[in-house]
């Protein structure tokens, strides 16, 4: 693996390898006083976040540091980025300065793909930490990892993804990865929050959450961003919550083993009732914990092998 840009078209065997590595790393670190592996000593990992996301950036940073990589955080403000330097020039500068891996979060869909193209010669790996409305592959991997933990496997499971699919990179990455791993994915949203063209995705589409819950093995809630609420995509937060919020009554419609996931940050009371978020059925803190191990696994697969030129 040279880059991790998307889960679309991912080879299921590769995805499972990464998940297995994550599980092994989790076990390797379990109960340790010193959570530090020497594996990536001497490797330099740069996080480049053009959007604020403390949780994702910190998760990558911890992952890199636990594997002894040198992790450097570049934020869009306070660097040359804010002085109008192009993404391409910033990336080439970081590569020339010795970055082995660039982890990028960017508001433009495809930014990570472009970056990988520009860094082809430098040999730098690129991890997509979220590009616009396109993909967020490590989130999907950590979701799959959490589902494996809780359900045993993803294959054959029915995963209901609820909310703003239109703008969600988490939804896109999960659709590709979970279906590649053999899950049935159901997307539930008001029609205004589903992309035109979703008919061609390998999923079932529904507008009725209650109808999908009794057969759900997992319910994954998507974040509804504040700007969408005022963008006329639905009449009001209250109406959204009534139709698509996961409350206790709705949770009772799901089978006893069903898991609740949320990529965070949560809007309690709107997308998810507090009692549901804090119930044992919710795997939301597991997701965060697994995120570190999955990102360690991704770094391992990207960086702990021979340079491709020497292969």
């Amino acid at each position: 693996m040279r880059h991790l840009l998307s889960t679309e078209g991912i080879d299921p065997a590769t995805a499972l390898e990464v998940l297995d590595t994550a599980d092994n790393l989790k076990r390797a670190l379990l109960g340790r006083e010193v959570r530090k592996l020497p594996t990536l000593r001497g490797r330099t990992v740069v996080t480049m976040f053009y959007e604020n996301s403390t949780r994702t950036r910190v998760s990558f940073e911890i992952a890199g540091k636990w594997m002894s990589a040198d992790v450097i955080n570049v934020s869009a403000s306070g660097s040359s980025v804010s002085k109008g330097e192009s993404l391409r020039d910033t990336a080439l500068t970081l590569a020339a300065a010795g970055a082995d891996c660039v982890i990028v979060r960017h508001p433009a869909s495809g930014a990570a793909h472009r970056l990988a193209g520009w860094l082809e010669e430098a040999g730098t790996s690129v991890v997509n930490a979220g590009d616009g409305m396109h993909e967020h592959p490590t989130q999907a991997l950590l979701d799959a990892d959490t589902l494996r933990d809780r359900l045993g496997s993803v294959n054959g499971r029915r995963i209901v993804i609820v909310g703003d699919v239109l703008h969600s990179r988490v939804a896109r990455s999960n659709v590709h990865l979970l279906t590649a791993l053999g899950a049935d994915v159901v997307l539930v949203a008001p029609p205004t929050l589903l992309p035109k063209g979703v008919e061609g995705w390998p999923v079932t589409v529904s507008h009725e959450l209650d109808a999908e819950l009794p057969t759900a093995d997992a319910v994954m809630l998507l974040r509804v961003q504040a700007e969408r609420m005022h963008g006329g995509f639905f009449p009001s937060a209250r109406e959204y919550s009534i139709a698509y919020g996961l409350n206790e009554a709705r949770l009772r419609l799901t089978p006893d083993h069903a898991v609740v996931l949320h990529p965070g940050p949560m809007l309690r009371g709107m997308e998810i009732a507090s009692a549901v978020a804090d119930s044992p059925r919710a795997a939301i803190t597991d997701q965060v914990r697994n995120g570190v191990h999955v990102r360690m696994a991704v770094l391992y697969h990207l960086l702990a092998h021979e340079e491709e030129a020497n292969a």
Binding site: A108, P195, K196, G197
Partner: protein, 448 residues
Amino acid sequence: MNKTLLRGVRLYGEGDPVDLLISDGVIAEIGTDLADADAEVVDAAGQVALPGFVDLHTHLREPGREDTETIATGSAAAALGGYTAVFAMANTDPVADNAVVIEHVWRRGREVGLVDVHPIGAVTVGLGGEKLAELGTMARSAAGVRVFSDDGHCVADPLIMRRALEYSKALDAVIAQHAEEPRLTVGAQAHEGEQASRLGLAGWPAAAEESIVARDCLLALHVGARLHVCHVSTAGTVEVLRWAKTRGDAIAPQATRAGIVPQAGRPGISAEVTPHHLLLTDERLASYDPVNKVNPPLRTEADAKALREALAEGVIDCVATDHAPHAVQDKDCEWAAARPGMLGLQTALSVVIETMVRPGLLDWRGVARVMSERPAEIAGLSDHGRPLEVGEPATLVLIDPDASWTVRGAALASVAGNTPYEGMTLPGRVMTTVLRGRITAHDGRIRA
């Protein structure tokens, strides 16, 4: 030397080869085994002769973005592409919304002299869509503007559009509309469909174009004015045009002002399609390379097919390049930050051969119609798109139909290199371009 003898050409690709003697800017003689001791002889055996091409939609970028194209380089690209007249869009900096900028472009075009450069005037001041520009002053300027457009922006306000259409009647002019309902394309990045949904690119619905085209056709019919629809890109627009033209073709243009002579037979509603919308589809977007970013966006194969058929049928009148040079830094960036547009002047003919001639949708007479005669008619050019007959202006192009070439952006005459056809091998090659008897381009080189 003011005489040229073209040997062995086939007029409109038909019949036996003939020789064509050009003298003093007109076609003096057509026959076999012509000879003239004073004439420059061009051996054009087997080449197809067509009237010189007319591009209704070119961005020459001067004034303002001379780092991407100038009137000189754009004229060179046009001549090399077989064009003898181009219409320069108004979205320069400053905007061509007044006679001063208009006359500058016109004069500069004459100085370069490789093609007739006709400036297009802006419909509204600063392309702002709010206040009509001084259309009359531009029409009566030295450039004699007959085409107005806010291209790059839609004249979205229906009342402003109605007024523009109405007002232009007195100027014997046509309003060329960039049909894009702005409220439906806020932040839009790619044709709204499965490809955009997968790539996470904000959707650019076909209806944003179709709704404006429908509205404008109704307005043009209502006020009896002439409307030209720029860069038609969807199958739905074709359907709207098909309907409107059954009502609209018959409209007689009116000219009431003194000094403006109306031309007979100009269409009430006309439309153009770009070469790239005939050939390319949104499948190309998967690379996120903004060389494929264009406005309107590349659509689906079903749309491209409908456009090719509409062009063959005449529902779409002509091919226009929407030649849009952009600097490297405006293209070699992330998709959303990139500017829309692609080069087109030097590749247009080859793309038309590939998409229309080879599949049998158009013969060479058809190519002459969509690339020369019809656009000249729409824009009211009396000396372009003329028949290849004795006594007519020697404004023509010779094409080697059997040649093919591989497109290299760096080798094109434009300052910018943003061609979506990089590395593609395309059929047909422009061999010689003649403007009023003068060879402007020959065998891939400009004749200054």
